[in-house]
Symmetry: D3
């Protein structure tokens, strides 16, 4: 009998441990970049959806931004197109752009919406075209001082938050596919971390959280760094401790911080409920990048 009571007490304590965080974040917006393993494994997907719905019920307003690279590559191959990447950017011709829109806007976005809704949330999927959300322009890339044409790879020019606010005011959870449009109506494929960062700035988010497939940012000894200041992060990039795909993620964080987002987090999406743990426990499950 004592044992059961003991277990119950521990349960209660864990709920109560969350209280100061709930109080702190009440009514705040979190922008969450969803991707990687968390988007593949069934149990991680469900855990993620539960986390999002839980956040929403306790008064935190989540906005989900997602990518979808692997499925895009898969459909390209089925349609006989060879994916080509330059400096991590997918070269995007007209046909590839259409494939991006089909996969991101038609499949993945709606899958996430359905996932969240099946756990009791009220998600609505958007691409950057809906409500004019993401105005984009062609991304210019220079390598060795020469311009490289990536096709319809874009960057965010302006975020029109009206549709996000309209949905959030009524308790809906926006799920955003990183597709932009320019003045002529042309679609652009944009990096999802970048979109998450730009949206976080535009909505004056409390947090930007990037789910990744690593345990966080590590130092030269591969030890996890729990906290990193902006200047430290820049130094680690210079020192080539932070390398490869982590670099754009760190820049997404830095841009968000410059745009007055309070805190940014790079967390391990392979751990179930990593989102909840990062937010509601002392220790966290990744690296926070702060000012």
């Amino acid at each position: 009998m004592i044992d059961i009571e003991q277990i119950l007490l521990e349960k209660a304590n864990i709920l109560v441990e969350a209280l100061p965080y709930i109080r702190k974040f009440y009514g705040k917006t979190f922008v969450i970049k969803y991707g990687g393993a968390a988007q593949k494994e069934s149990f991680l997907k469900n855990a993620f959806a539960q986390d999002i719905v839980l956040l929403n019920f306790i008064g935190i307003k989540p906005i989900v931004v997602h990518g979808g690279g692997p499925k895009i590559t898969e459909l390209m191959k089925r349609l006989g197109k060879e994916p080509q990447f330059i400096h991590g950017h997918r070269v995007t011709d007209k046909e590839t752009m259409e494939i991006v829109e089909m996969i991101l806007g038609g499949i993945i976005n709606k899958e996430i919406v359905q996932l969240i809704n099946s756990h009791g949330g009220k998600a609505v999927g958007l691409t950057g075209k809906d409500g004019g959300l993401l105005r984009a322009k062609k991304k210019l890339l220079k390598i060795n001082n020469e311009e490289v044409d990536l096709g319809f790879v874009g960057e965010v020019e302006r975020v029109c938050i009206e549709v996000l606010e309209t949905l959030q005011d009524k308790g809906f959870i926006p799920v955003v596919a990183p597709i932009g449009f320019d003045k002529s109506g042309q679609s652009y494929n944009i990096n999802a971390d970048t979109v998450a960062s730009a949206v976080a700035v535009a909505v004056k988010a409390e947090k930007l959280i990037l789910l990744t497939d690593v345990k966080g940012i590590t130092d030269e000894n591969s030890e996890l760094l729990s906290t990193l200041k902006m200047e430290e992060a820049l130094k680690l990039i210079q020192q080539q401790v932070i390398t490869g795909g982590m670099i754009p993620k760190v820049y997404a964080c830095l841009n968000a911080l410059k745009g007055d987002v309070k805190k940014t987090h790079i967390i391990d999406g392979r751990i179930p409920h990593s989102l909840l743990l990062e937010i509601f426990t002392q220790r966290g499950v990744g690296t926070e990048v702060i000012q």
Copy 2:
């Protein structure tokens, strides 16, 4: 000089001719099924978008529901799948369903959104999954008393209008792809006319308007019928004057009327601005089906 004044006066008169209709429909919702030629020809597409934006500015609240059959067929073929139809329904296996979602949700829906936005509207695209809009169930089809399995072809079980209302209250124009979901999260391909009809009933629409590629409903002498009562429509179906693809359209109208939609219209989408002409002129450009 007199000639120019004459022309100006005629212009003004046409604007003024619209006044009684503007007064009558102020604040009312129109559900418009968009498809066919109006979705293909560039000048028809632009005219349609102008009409939608104009309606919205003069206080009419449009909801657009669209189909997209030809593009689905096209992608199926590219992916090596042979489209198969039974009684006008596309047999929809798992892979076809995914193609439907890619084309309707990823491409066509966003194309229409972009089209409307580029003319000054604020459109937001939705599939039936967004905000739990279209709860569906498997469509049961019996032919000669034998059940035929159409795969993931669905019919509307429940329309959850909260997301539509949320968007309309802030001046957004919902654009709906006819994809539903069932309790288990399974996607369904639903006939767009049927969805438009169900949505019209759910939002207590003033009008349901179906854009088609014919001039309207015609009698046995192929003369256009301007107005048709419910019972007359049923009789024409029995007499096999109304046949083929027009039958489900007429049933969509009848079901809307039974659900207290005030008037329904089957109009000729091949005429530019047919929407505007139907609403704002005495004569109209198709057939109205009424109680």
Copy 3:
């Protein structure tokens, strides 16, 4: 058959031609000085009322200010009083002031209200006394450095817009008779163009439109000037190209522009629907005076 379609298409095009203007002026206030021929001929009166109601339905908020000189003169004569004018101002003794109030407030104001309402608008007539709308003071006129006593001719001291806002917020169209009051409660007869200008400034109107009985402002060759800048207008007055009754109208425009009204228009009220044409067509039907 083709001909009818052609006509319909032209109709639609005219409606669509109005769209950019509708978008541009949505939610804006237009102050319109109504008078002259437009107030006399039955078909011009009806066309004016249709225009006002149409503007209101498409989201433009009109305020009508009217004069009524001829009817005042008529009643004065019937009551045995000889009208006397100094520099275009009606010398207004106590009895004349009462006649002004009877004709403007009792007859013309309500006639316009009824006219608009009979076309489906919701007009409410006001004099400057209602809701303390127009606080006035005695107009001082000097001719050859000598003060001339015009009696109870006033100028606007302060516009109290609360009653206008209250009515406009609920979709009512204010119709204002140019009668003011001073601290002691004394009534004043004020020039209607001046009142329209002051009201336009007070409500931060988008446009001030003066309906006149001429085709607009003309140059020294009697050619209509479509657009006129403030400094050009002043120069034309100095050069005595603009003369007589047009001078106070131009000053009404200039004062409105100084008070941040966006554009002002002097248009030909003898053309039916001149209001609509000025607003919704490229060319317009008079002269716009701009900054």
Copy 4:
């Protein structure tokens, strides 16, 4: 010293004596027919305006309806028309109707508005045309079974209270001239007591108060009756104790009571502040007619 304190205490007691009435009538609408002596003597006019403003500040919402017979007669005579009355109704030809509109709408209505405003209220004058307030129809009068044509004498067909509510919601005090309009836009001269009664019913007023030039309803011995039930009032009319001009006033009360107005009052407008005294003192200053 004691004397001054005594006086102060009495003052306070009188304020406090009003408290139960203030509590009782908080937020309620009173419709007040204003006329007779109270509209002529300067000190009575000021006292009336003070009363109206005071009522408004303590949370009672007054609507004033006024007549203006003597001034109409005066202008008719000046214009060479001989007033003619049948059973108390002014025979109203086209020209007379115009005189009625000039006097009631142009002069008296605005005079009352100004009077109230000069005491710190926010009055707005209306005729029955403004906001479509008073829809009327021709009054049919039969004498000895023969129809008598009174010209444009009307009765109330419908009261459209939207403009009253709009104004009252923002603290404005509506002042209504008893002029109606019919479907064709024709103006009608309506009895002010009747209008007050119809308005009281339409706005679900707490009280209808008629200011008169007598001390109230008297019995056969000319003794004032403080309270009268509906059936008693009808009996006194049958017994010809209530006669002449008092009869339509009593009917105005009875119709108001039938239309669920709580209480009606016929009070002595010759006493300054009779309105306040009737409402805020035990004894009252006239006759209340109740169910």
Copy 5:
């Protein structure tokens, strides 16, 4: 490393386990009778306050009703008064009533307010006098058919919920001391369980939860009964299985259920966070009494 991850995962699972309950009770009101051990031991008090604040943040609206018997007895003794009880009711003379008001309203109510506020809530203390919350009347007690005078012991006559709603709408947590007042302004001492039940009915609460010093309702073998239907509860009272102080608690539950409160709970206040455990775990920590 794995161990820490394991622990984190368990933590997350416990948070997630709460999700269905959070969803279910979002926006609902719970009335909680606070008393006994939970009000004495410091760690139980803090745990209770944490629970209340947590409930409030996750969208459940708690109302706390408290007793305070022991402290009343203590002050009575210090002031030389001997407490006297009849059938569990404290005989309450004038002086005792004042002591009740001092202790309940002055000390205990504010202590609970402070306790909740120090954990981040926004509590406001009320007695039944504040906002006219608890209209009471003298409790009549008959023993052996003879009336026994308990002094100022009252029962609830009417609950005026306006002050509760006003506070709850702005996120405040009402804390209610069970003191009522009658028409004459006399104070009454009312049983706190009864007040909690009456308040729960008045605010249409989802749950009534009574914190006690026992593990719940037990059967004849002293085994805890997890769930009890109304008729079963009544039978257990008849069979004298439920006895003594538990009887009025059960009646409080039954009256709440009759008044359409969804569920009632008698829980063990000696377990820390019993409130949370009852609400958010499958098993619960006491007895639920249901319809």
Copy 6:
């Protein structure tokens, strides 16, 4: 007969005399320190309650702050504690603080609430703990440069007005007991004049009114000073014309004035309705201290 009319007329005149004050103070907040004789004599208490309710109905928003020294002393003595005062401050040990809370929060606060409610108001009693209203800190007192320990005597550190606004927005009248709390949750006994002054500043009150047991501030000849400027008040303190218990009251006024309260009043609470007389009559019944 004439006499009765005369009396009625005088009554009406007194009501009307109040009109300019009602207009002036409409919607403004008055903070009223209630205490002294006005809190003892039954007829003064009723008069005070009537005044508060009357103010509330005519659109003035009163906040009452009260003391309660004599009753605290009385209970201290009954519990065998000897009251001790240093420079007018009650030395407040732990037990005394509890007595203060019992008397102020439990008895006097609720008595005033009940008093106001019985006259038709909607009062809600608060201590500084409710809604975190009065954050306090220990008052430091130096006498001859030596710190004197007054125990739990506090001063106001911060006023959190949310609970006041919440209640006032719904027409409730807050009644505040001058008890504060510090960060640790410790209670403090604060001077009521000081609390009233701090609350007046925090809510941007129009007036601070202190009810006293003297006729106001008097000059060196004991003549009442009707009006006193800030600098004059300071001079009178220096000149020791203002002495003793009046000094803190004057400082309460000065601090309120510095904090932008418009006017402050020290009035004679022994005169019935002194509150009403001060506000609504020319002469007033005490001293106003102004900038």
